[in-house]
Amino acid sequence: MTTEPQTLVTPDMTERQGVWGSERVSPPISESDVRKWAIACYWPESPPRIYWDAAYAATTRWGGIIAAPDFNPFAWPVEREAPTGMTNTPRSGRGQRGMNGGQVDTYGVPMRPGDVITSRNRLRDWNERETRLGPTLFTFSETEWRNQRGELVKLRVSTGIRY
């Protein structure tokens, strides 16, 4: 006879708590990537000039083009861990189901063309409680982005939900 575990917290989580994982380094950000990002996000209207007009951007307090805060310099890696896609096989069993519980992003200095961003991630903490889904584990992970000068660009706290 098998019994359900008393907790969804695994020994691996306890080991990893607060420990920064390996770093990822982005390619240098290009003006063209910043412009394309802005066009896509503002489609079908034109994006603000700060994202694509170097002459205008030079007159602002930034002194040049900046990227939108949500710009992703890590898009399009050459080497990938796994193909993107989604399994259609529903997972079942306690602790095997999950969902995205949202995110909070705190922004520091803006990203600029030429910047190289370094990212690292860690499991910050968690809490476990009874919800309408049954015993539910909320995990909080931090992802930190810094530029080549070590300045904080973004700190994301992501909430993962398992039940």
Binding site: A40, Y42, R49, A68, D70, N72, G85, M86, Y107
Partner: protein, 144 residues
């Protein structure tokens, strides 16, 4: 320097100027292209239905987040700063939905040397469904 809005001009209860887009494959595919977010549920109606969305393919949460960024940026202008955004992805963004970013000022204070405005934000569809409740903090210039 040009600024759209100053700290002194904003009051608790003020509304963020509404910002809207009607979304379909033209917007989703462009976002997929820049964010390298090619996921079948956002590209293919059969995959969307297999993921239990009867209407087929659906939009990515990250694009709704981008719309929140855009709405805040267009309100505060090129030289003020978005300091924080938090949100949860709730209802699905269906094809041809008209999404509108809405927001209300909940607080304003001087903090860490910045003049900050706090807002509740959301992305609502044409039916009034709240698809992306969250909050934001922006840092504005002050007149004094």
């Amino acid at each position: 320097m040009t600024y759209n809005v100053h700290f002194e001009d904003v009051n608790v209860g003020d509304s963020l100027p509404a910002w809207s887009r009607t979304t379909d494959f033209m917007s989703w595919n462009r976002y997929a292209a820049v964010n390298d977010e090619f996921v079948y549920i956002h590209m293919d109606d059969e995959a969307g239905r297999a993921a239990l969305n009867e209407q087929g393919a659906f939009g990515m949460g990250n694009l709704r987040y981008a719309y929140i960024v855009n709405a805040l940026h267009d309100w505060i202008g090129d030289e003020a700063e978005i300091r924080e955004i938090g949100c949860q992805f709730r209802a699905i963004n269906q094809k041809n939905d008209t999404l509108t970013v809405v927001g209300t000022v909940t607080d304003k204070k001087i903090e860490d040397g910045e003049h900050r405005i706090y807002l509740d934000v959301n992305v609502v569809n044409q039916l009034g469904d709240a698809t992306c409740p969250g909050h934001a903090v922006v840092a504005l210039p002050a007149r004094t």
